[in-house]
């Protein structure tokens, strides 16, 4: 069997492709781009929430938020490792991110203006991420699928702690309810944008589906997310900021309004409210940490010399 046929046979049999297997160049490139972007999203995603650690309303909420941000770092590391099995180095990926050649999820280019945003991010942003990541546990590339299983197991805590923050606010004072509503107003549409362009406008979707990297379309995932989330908003007594949102009994799904694609593309292209700040902060953290990496390497080298001497 030729390598090409072997690869196709794996996909047909619903088997995983592993790093040592032959794979088409495009498959490898697509996965490197996607997994690196996913890893960068976890890493950049620490910033909007890190912003509230020192201002969490109680010691308990602070400990929870730190644990969550720590998880995001861990998720980034699982994913960088998965990408590295495809032949790119971590330094290359970090460099591509810092030079703006690699992207990360646009959702993290929005600011976190109130404590309620910690709730909305857990509930909506992690909720949307989970919808996507549950699908990716069935991705054809073994290391990515396995990283997703691990991540999904940990994400449930993220979503639940967010929703619990909002329950507390919505059972609170008028001001607290208003804060929760304001947060939903700001995060709803960017969360729907997380699923990417319409299927008709998505450049990579068809090939990714054929390679069994992406197994559900952007629009179907978005619909799944909306159907799941509307009752959760109702329970909180919050109003989703979409006048066109309505149950469609015939389809068995919620209809919802049009996404502002101009906003979507402008944030993707770098003009969101926080794009520059996020990357500047990331670069600064990397540069400020250079001495730690150098010291660790020097110490390891010295120990090795001592051991062989």
């Amino acid at each position: 069997m030729s390598p090409e046929d072997g690869f196709e046979a794996l996909l047909d049999a619903e088997e995983k492709v592993e790093p040592a297997d032959w794979m088409p160049d495009g498959y490898r490139k697509t996965l490197i781009r996607q997994i690196a972007q996913h890893a960068h999203s976890e890493i950049i995603g620490m910033q909007p929430e890190g912003n509230w650690i020192t201002r969490a309303p109680s010691l308990k909420r602070k400990a929870i938020l730190m644990a969550k941000v720590q998880d995001e770092a861990g998720h980034g590391l699982y994913l960088y490792s998965a990408a590295e099995t495809l032949g790119i180095t971590r330094d290359e990926m970090v460099d591509l991110l810092h030079r703006g050649r690699h992207k990360y999820s646009s959702i993290f280019n929005y600011p976190t203006l109130s404590w309620a945003d910690m709730g909305a991010i857990g509930w909506l942003v992690d909720g949307a991420a989970i919808t996507n990541q549950v699908m990716l546990t069935r991705c054809s590339f073994g290391p990515y699928a396995r990283a997703m299983v691990r991540i999904c197991r940990e994400e449930s805590f993220h979503q639940r702690q967010g929703y619990e923050i909002l329950i507390a606010l919505c059972k609170g004072t008028d001001e607290q309810r208003a804060m929760a509503q304001d947060s939903l107003n700001r995060w709803w549409w960017p969360s729907l944008m997380m699923f990417g362009p319409h299927d008709s406008a998505s450049t990579h979707s068809e090939q990714s589906a054929a390679w069994k990297i992406k197994r559900v379309s952007n629009d179907d995932l978005r619909q799944q997310f909306v159907d799941m989330t509307v009752p959760q908003a109702e329970y909180l007594g919050l109003t989703i900021p979409d006048p066109d949102l309505a149950w469609n009994a015939e389809r068995g799904h919620y209809d919802f309004g049009d996404i502002d694609w101009n906003e979507f593309w402008s944030v993707v292209k770098g003009d969101g409210p926080m794009n520059r700040e996020r990357i500047e902060h990331k670069r600064r953290a990397w540069d400020d940490g250079a001495w730690v990496r150098q010291a660790a390497a020097a110490y390891a080298a010295r120990r090795e010399t001592a051991a062989t001497a």
Partner: protein, 96 residues
Amino acid sequence: MTEPGGGYRMWEVFVRPRRGLSYVHAGSLHAPDAETALQAGRDVYSRRGEAASIWVVPSSEITASDPDDSVAFFDVIDKPYRHATAYEIPDEVGQM
């Protein structure tokens, strides 16, 4: 032939029952080189089709934590909030 202990080294064997799963540690064995360790790993740890593929790693290459230090080393015991079950979510909003 070299006697065990004279030129043989210890290897750790990791097996995976089928593609797509992680390799899991199965046990150790003695072998003079990597190729022999692979064959011995198959014979010792997969006589009943337990493995679709295996890894062998020289035991000396493994750095391990001390099980007696587990409480100090893994300080997660007092952090129940890292678990999803630490949060009260009403049934009517569906699975989360």
